[in-house]
Symmetry: C2
Subunit: 347 residues, 2 copies
Amino acid sequence: MSEKKENKSPGEFELIELLTKNINIYNPETIYGIGDDAAVLSFKNEQILVTNDVLIEGIHFDLAYVPLKHLGYKAAIVNFSDVYAMNANPKQLVVSMAVSNRFTANMLQELYAGIKLACDNYKVDLVGGDTSSSRSGMFLSLTAIGSAPPKEIVYRNTAKEGDYICVSGDLGAAYVGLHLLKRENEIFQADPSMQPVLEGYDYILQRQLKPEARADIHQYLKQKGIIPTAMIDVSDGLSSEILHICNDSGTGCKIFENKIPIAPETESMADELGLDPTVCALNGGEDYELLFTVSPDDYEKLTAEPQISIIGHISEKEEGTNLITIGGNVVPLHAKGWNAFAKANNS
Amino acid sequence: MSEKKENKSPGEFELIELLTKNINIYNPETIYGIGDDAAVLSFKNEQILVTNDVLIEGIHFDLAYVPLKHLGYKAAIVNFSDVYAMNANPKQLVVSMAVSNRFTANMLQELYAGIKLACDNYKVDLVGGDTSSSRSGMFLSLTAIGSAPPKEIVYRNTAKEGDYICVSGDLGAAYVGLHLLKRENEIFQADPSMQPVLEGYDYILQRQLKPEARADIHQYLKQKGIIPTAMIDVSDGLSSEILHICNDSGTGCKIFENKIPIAPETESMADELGLDPTVCALNGGEDYELLFTVSPDDYEKLTAEPQISIIGHISEKEEGTNLITIGGNVVPLHAKGWNAFAKANNS
């Protein structure tokens, strides 16, 4: 439902009203939001995108070092990013959650403040959801709905040999940011009198705690009349994502290590942590950049935008999916992304 | 996403492929289902309904007496029911879940078998979701998408004074079915050599374990050219649902106790449990019947259908929301529905 009031105690009604008040509706496609059995939407001549992500406490996030407002923001952003990755615009969001009674109304308001901020920043309408209790921990399931003209929708299985491979922004920062948060948290746990040292690490922390979806890149491509031949967002690592495009498209690829965009802050933190920055970019994940392939005809239009890097090209399937290292070696790419299942070890 | 393969281990890929193979697509509105960042849908001249329900182990279901296949079926049905309650047809379903490692692949296949059966029975396309691990228990979040011509969509806040109040099927059976399951489970827990006595209770058990959404009533209303003035599904009890309609519509109501449809099996089980059958119907919930109001002009068209009972009428707000008992007493209705939050008491 659209945050229906069924199966709820009076306390739940009040909580839902508290959480869902002052919601802004930005899109004419939203006919009716929260308050009935279902939200009602209307799209003219556009196709509709539906995407969903689950976030589980202790698996996907640790509230020891993730503020609730940031968690709410990020939970929304990861779904918006999936819609942009289809070359479409996110329009509505449905938020379901279950929380144990260690979460106060104030804490849930913080979470919702983050979700609402993301909705305001990206002009997405919060149209429904379900709120319940859990026996332990916090479960979030967000569903985003978007739209685009049918001819503009871009899948991941349509890359062609000879296409350029492009990525927005830079990679690996969110991963080293997470490592920094974990390190400082461990120091704090061992000795609570120690204060976390987070100054000077703003960029990588922001990339981990408050990532953005690349609405700007989606807009840029549209303005330039570029429709990528394939696209995916980098929620896992670059390596895993390019393998999705190649495997689903039946192609190979060549990625050049020296072309992978990595921020100086990421390089520096990786050094400090004893990690290889390229490995962080390839396998780290949570960057929410757009990885896309374009026809060679669109090459000129892309070079003008510093936020887009051309990192390689699509090859025949038989050539394999390879990284060409700075030293000139050819190394097969492997998906070594982030693994939610491996982190769960009790029932 | 549309059960995207990001953030997944190889084991997860295999699990998702196992769970989502052999999926039937029934609706031309489903352009692309599982396998990309988002599902792609296309609706012509229809508005879109989006509804979501969360089901948490230990709160909404107890696997001690709910088979996983039934759980999957019911989880889908409760969402379809919300779409029918808007006078629309469910078309697509997105399934998100998080499960601890006590759930084997076989168990999850059982769950999905139930979800798929519901999709097949109701001609709904499973188009995506997210599968993750949890640290404990099972968390399900299902989102159904439906559609209807804009003029046919029925809200709950549009009942008018003088409208008849109708309900489909019968009420209270799911509630007494749950009591029976709990009773037999307690007996079994106390003495595992005792076998549960469930023979002869088929109807009430089916109503609890394998409820159906009222696609047939939706179809009947459409065939007869009846558009209800307001509608809601009875996921909570009758009392709570009619109060939603009246409060949201700014009206009162009169419900006649002797008109409330209660199956003989429900009466009999309520007697056995020492419960008042009317109270079971008013406050029980999980019946997934349709409760709707119709203009007096449609009265004749309704009396021909034995699956629809006329149980009262909408009155002025000032007259209050009342039950007229068999003895002729006027009793104000109260929402005493099922309370998910009250059942959670540890973190």
